[in-house]
């Protein structure tokens, strides 16, 4: 939460929108929900260069998403 609070308002709104889309449907077009190589985490797209780090967890009620972090994820391969 400390990292979310520190985001610029524009990015914060995009992160919020992405997280809400994830909570509704991880297959939402443009969310690009995919695993992060070399870690148990997944990422979703907030904008072209900003992603959100997500962990999938399980409990008795089923699986749920844990939003862990967000940051720049520049795409260098155009």
């Amino acid at each position: 939460m400390r990292l979310y609070r520190g985001l610029d308002p524009g990015i914060k709104a995009q992160v919020k929108s992405a997280v809400i889309k994830l909570s509704k449907d991880p297959n939402t077009k443009g969310l690009r929900f995919k695993p992060l190589e070399g870690s148990p985490y997944w990422s979703i797209r907030a904008n072209d260069n900003f992603r959100v780090l997500v962990l999938i967890r399980e409990d008795v009620g089923g699986s749920y998403y844990l939003v862990a972090d967000a940051g720049n994820h520049d795409i260098y391969d155009h």
Binding site: M1, Y4, R5, K16, V19, I20, S23, K24, L36, E37, G38, S39, P40, Y41, S43, R51, L53, L55, Y64, L66, A68, D69, G71, N72, H73, D74, Y76, D77, H78
Partner: protein, 176 residues
């Protein structure tokens, strides 16, 4: 638990990448002999191969002691993430314009006054250069994200708020 020693090795590799990439400016490469271009591509690929294990060593240097001390390890990870982000950004300023030039040259190469075989070789070498420089930037980025995942692992609390209704989630995020 201190700043990873391997970080200085990474800085040296980063400087080498920039020096190698600058050594034969791409803007003049259409006249450069193919051997010179191929050497440059090979040198960048070799540096790429060295950067990967160096980043893995940095991760290991940070992850083991940080996991041992739990949440107390977060400030060091913050510092390493900040450092990697700065390095990635500095390197991107140097390499991204060169990648773009390589891609432009590659796409215009077939219109040039060279034999077909020469054109094909130039295109392949320019592709190798662009691909290796791109891969180096991606390694820095992915190394930073791996570190972010480690930080998240240490910071995640079992008492984090949970939501089953997206509207409740939205209301919660609006307050932050």
């Amino acid at each position: 638990m201190g700043f990873p020693a391997q970080m200085s090795a990474l800085s040296e590799l980063e400087h080498e990448v920039v020096e190698v990439a600058r050594a034969a400016p791409l803007e003049r490469e259409e006249q450069a002999p193919i051997e010179v271009l191929a050497e440059k591509a090979k040198a960048i690929e070799q540096l790429l191969a060295k950067i990967k294990p160096t980043l893995a060593s940095i991760f290991a240097e940070v992850a083991e002691p940080a996991k041992a001390v739990g949440i107390m390890g977060v400030p060091l990870i913050d510092e390493v993430i900040e450092h990697l982000a700065a390095r990635e950004s500095a390197l991107a300023k140097q390499l991204v314009p060169m990648i773009e030039v390589a891609q432009t040259l590659r796409s215009t190469m077939f219109g040039r006054n060279l034999r077909r075989e020469e054109k094909t070789r130039h295109v392949l070498v320019l592709e190798r250069q662009a691909k290796a420089m791109t891969a180096i930037l991606e390694l820095f980025r992915d190394g930073r994200w791996r570190m972010m995942a480690l930080r998240a692992e240490l910071e995640l609390a079992d008492d984090s708020p949970a939501f089953s209704d997206p509207k409740e989630l939205e209301a919660y995020l609006d307050k932050l």
